[in-house]
Symmetry: C2
Subunit: 310 residues, 2 copies
């Protein structure tokens, strides 16, 4: 997903981070908008309540990565003309679920008619100091909040009919339909100053790492890839390259962050208390870009990421 319209042209401010931060009379407001579009964001088989829940979860994940608690959101809906009352109710129930799950009040909205379903979520909260993309320091360890590859595998099952072992299939489809942003983890780690730089990984692992490296003016060297259990077997079964799934898939709602070496164990312990197993994947080095040390040789990681469904 192209995230910032900052790059488009004059008229936009380039924010270049997961959240926009505004100073309103001395108060720091963190805000985010994220638009979900039926034809490019919703895979076959996803229930309407999962779609509206995900529209909110996408925004929550950006707050999670920055360590900021979201407080409220407004939701704009574009509803296709033929949409039935039960379908609108199902959408509403997904918003209700998201509200409970993430404790984010839905304070307003706007309903329109459009050619396809569009859900735009605008979320905000207060920030005393959000973790930036650009804060990585040479020597930091690079961590992720969970394994990668499930969502790409799930999308390949849905869109290309690929085969999978039933338990892996369930897990992969769940990662597509029910993304779980790591809100408490992000807030906890940021509160303890255990993230020097961070980003939400939904555009894909490789591009997220590139963003951290570019914004921080450093390089990243990966020592291992956070491959999800069963992703290798699935890739083999379907003639895929598992590294491609892990690095360039996207749609995972994990936090990718860097932490000073002496904070690694504390971060892991705090995460474990929240039921999250942090995975160390590499370190921050001088230079630029992202490389992967594979069988003793440094290979470049492409600056590629998730592109919308076609």
């Amino acid at each position: 997903m192209i995230r910032a319209i900052g790059g488009l042209k004059e008229g936009f401010s380039d924010i270049g981070d997961d959240l926009a931060l505004c100073d309103l009379d001395g108060m720091k407001l963190a805000a985010k908008v994220d638009m979900l579009v039926w034809s490019t964001d919703v895979p076959k088989g996803m229930k309407l309540w999962q779609v509206s829940r995900k529209a909110v979860a996408m925004c929550v994940s950006d707050f999670a990565a920055k360590g900021v608690r979201p407080m409220a959101c407004l939701v704009s809906l574009g509803l296709p003309r033929g949409m039935r009352e039960e379908e609108v109710e199902e959408l509403a129930s997904g918003f209700g679920r998201a509200k409970e799950e993430f404790d984010v009040e839905i304070v307003g909205g706007d309903t329109n008619e459009s050619k396809e379903l569009v859900i735009d979520c605008a979320m905000f909260g207060l920030s005393e100091g959000m973790v930036p993309r650009g804060g990585a320091r040479v020597g930091d360890r690079v961590m992720v909040s969970g394994p990668f590859g499930y969502t790409s595998a799930g999308l390949k099952m849905i869109m290309e009919g690929m085969e999978a072992e039933p338990r892996f299939r369930d897990r992969a489809l769940r990662s597509v339909f029910m993304p779980e942003p790591r809100l408490e983890l992000g807030i906890t780690l940021a509160g303890k100053r255990l993230m020097n730089s961070s980003i939400d990984s939904s555009d894909g692992l490789a591009i997220s790492l590139w963003e951290l490296a570019d914004k921080s003016g450093v390089g990243i060297e990966l020592e291992s890839l956070p491959v999800g259990e069963g992703v290798l077997e699935f890739s083999e079964m379907n003639g895929l390259d598992w590294e491609e799934l892990v690095l360039y898939g996207g749609e995972e709602y994990e936090i990718v962050f860097t932490v000073s070496e002496d904070g690694v164990e504390e971060a892991k312990a705090l995460a474990r208390e929240l039921g999250v197993e942090l995975i160390e994947i590499g370190r921050v080095v001088e230079g630029g870009g992202v490389k992967y040390r594979k069988r003793g040789r440094l290979e470049p990681v492409r600056r590629d990421g998730w592109i919308h469904l076609r």
Copy 2:
């Protein structure tokens, strides 16, 4: 335009006013989202920069009506796949223009691919006490910030090819393509406590008056209609009922408000300093609903408003 998703079902909070108001750790944040959709909101002949400017102006008008200064906004775009670079630039230039015109910083956004152009604007500001819809008191005078009927006339020229005298045509089309929200007026009147209740009129005059009456638990009696210059002639020329255009047209971005009788002259004088001629159209009475005193007889005004272009 259906404004609030409050009514939809559980999962939404019913806000029932032009802006949502949230208490964030003691700070009152006023927020609004407004979605503009190509197929239902953009009449033929409207330039792309006017479309993006209007998407922002629509939100600004809600802040104007509530007397709250907007500070920043985020913009989500759904762009059709075939959109050319120059078209995207034109959109961006309209946002740039809106930013200058209304002094609202665009702090972030999200860009997506969609089947048709969708622009969702999320705007916020700080509010010390926004003017509610529900504050009208029996005895208040009912005022509007400008004449009505131009936009409906303009839309009829565009969509049904209706004829018009050239100067009237220019004015009517301008009202469609370049709506001018009454931001300074709203902030000034609210600051002097000269609005007891108020609403942005973009859904149409009749429905806006109904909203004020319903939310305040009072009735409204109109004594005259704020008909724009030339609207009568245009209506006659095209076999239309001018009262229909004025009451049920919509898409005017005026403020409809009530003011205590002893505040009327001060409000008019302040408005005049800002180049705005306030029009008194009736008064707040006991009871409910909206009626129009026409040739000595009270006639009901329907609770009808603007519906999207088809």
